[in-house]
Amino acid sequence: MQEQEIIEKLTTVIKTYVEDKEALDGITPETHLINDLNINSAHLVDIILDTEEAFDIEIDDESAEQMLTVKAAVDIVSSKLSS
């Protein structure tokens, strides 16, 4: 799967949990899910579950804890897909 495709799929997953849609304007790899997108920290669990489902992968606890930025999420999904 191309990185661009991963980003698009991930963005769709993340968007669901962003209440303030304006925060989505100008989303970059460095965008922080909690600090920049104001995602409720309790919803990170749901984002991980939805990501697992969207890509048919399993995200271990250690990786899950690092999924705080768009880039980190893309990297984790890429590595799981290639392993």
């Binding site: 669901t16 962003v18 669990v45 749901d46």
Partner: protein, 417 residues
């Protein structure tokens, strides 16, 4: 006030519906498929469009508990109707003077069910973040406090079918104690086979009117054959009078008293049947709390479920008030139109009672053309309106009784500035 009832959603629609004697009871095919003896019930007409007016897409994706959805709609409507600001800014400071007592029954039953399947399949990890907040008993008060930024006491009470009335009494006492200025009070309950199955098995539900749903709930009738299950939510903002006057709030009426007790499963009382002495003491306790005499009650919004308990309730009121025949107050049963909304019943019926007080009418008590003869022996049939009547009311009493032999009674008075 706000209301989500089987025959209408929203205060204006509800007022029109109860004046017209509109039934919200219908045949539910799912209950037939599942071999329920009772295949009728009351489910509020809450459409996706309506939900979209109250919840974000994300909230709707996660919030599946019907009872909590109903409770939030009624609670938000009551808050707005009271002239309090809405929506409430996420960054604002909580309102430390405003709290919430919002009762619940089995509001998250459908969520519990889906959670149990996942756990049994070894998929506990997939439960996600939203299961607990929908299945904990206080899920409804927790949701409302987040939506409205409530900073005073925020809690959920539970006393079976007296829950809604008890919630209002608890909020009343909080304000009387001087510990809050505003209390959002109400209750909610869910619907469906998992909520209602136990009642069906107990044979307390109506099983004789599956082919005539709107005739199924027949409080006070000789042919009453068990209660019809319903669901929904009712809510009202209680406020310290001076505080309400100061901000120019819309005032529907005054709550002048309330009393809660239990028959202790003694003297004829059991888990499911009320101790008559307990009920009469509750009535007298409410009168004393309101500091009024029994002759001052103009009308009663009964608990009246469409069971044999109706006869007993009439006798208890008659004895406790020492009033009978045509000296008995007017009395009607909202459950004739909406069924028994379980934990939501007391709050929905309290909203109806206050609407009648404020707008000067009594709604019809439908399906009791064939009044039970034992009731006719105690009170004059004219005490029970068969059609809507326009009537000035000063004081109306609301009773609710529940499994566990628990009782709650409220006394509402019309407000004259």
């Amino acid at each position: 006030m706000g209301v989500v009832a089987p025959n209408a959603v929203g205060l204006d629609n509800f007022s029109t519906a109860i004046q017209n004697g509109k039934s919200g009871i219908r045949f539910l095919p799912e209950m037939e498929q599942l071999k329920f003896a009772c295949q009728v019930g009351g489910v509020p007409p809450v459409t996706p469009d309506l939900l979209g007016n109250y919840f974000s897409a994300l909230t709707l994706k996660q919030l599946k508990a019907h009872g909590i959805r109903f409770g939030c709609i009624a609670g938000i409507d009551a808050w707005k109707d009271a002239g309090l600001s809405y929506p409430v800014e996420k960054e604002s400071e909580p309102n430390w003077e405003a709290g919430c007592i919002f009762g619940a029954g089995m509001s998250g039953m459908s969520v519990i069910r889906s959670g149990i399947y996942m756990v049994d399949e070894g998929k506990v990890k997939r439960l996600g973040s939203s299961l607990i907040q929908q299945t904990m008993p206080s899920g409804i008060s927790a949701h409302l406090s987040g939506i409205l930024g409530l900073g005073n006491q925020v809690s959920t009470n539970a006393s079976a079918c007296s829950t809604g009335t008890e919630a209002i009494i608890m909020g009343l006492n909080r304000i009387r104690q001087g510990k809050a200025k505003i209390m959002l009070c109400g209750s909610c309950d869910s619907y469906g086979p998992y909520v209602w199955g136990g009642f069906d098995s107990m044979r307390v539900l109506c099983r004789k009117y599956n082919d005539s749903p709107t005739a199924a709930s027949r409080p006070l009738s000789e042919t009453a054959a068990g209660f019809v299950p319903g669901s929904g939510a009712g809510a009202m903002v209680l406020e310290d009078l001076d505080h309400a006057l100061e901000r120019g709030a819309k005032i529907y009426g005054e709550i002048i008293g309330g009393y809660t007790n239990s028959g202790g499963h003694r003297q004829g009382g059991t888990m499911t049947a009320p101790n008559p002495v307990g009920i009469q003491k509750c009535i007298q306790g409410a009168l004393a709390d309101a500091d009024i005499g029994p002759e001052e009650i103009d009308a009663i919004s009964g608990h009246l479920t469409s069971t044999m308990g109706d006869v007993l309730e009439i006798k208890n009121w008659s004895e406790a008030l020492n009033r009978k025949g045509n000296e008995f107050p007017k009395i009607n049963a909202l459950k004739s139109m909406i069924g028994h909304c379980l934990s939501a019943a007391g709050s929905i019926e309290s909203v109806a009672a206050i609407l009648q007080l404020a707008e000067g009418f009594l709604h019809p008590s439908i399906n009791c053309e064939d009044l039970h003869p034992e009731i006719a022996q105690v009170i004059d049939p004219d005490c029970i309106p068969q059609e809507k009547i326009a009537i000035p009311l000063n004081i109306i009493a609301k009773s609710s009784f529940g499994f566990g032999d628990v009782n709650s009674i409220l006394i509402f008075k019309s407000y004259k500035s």
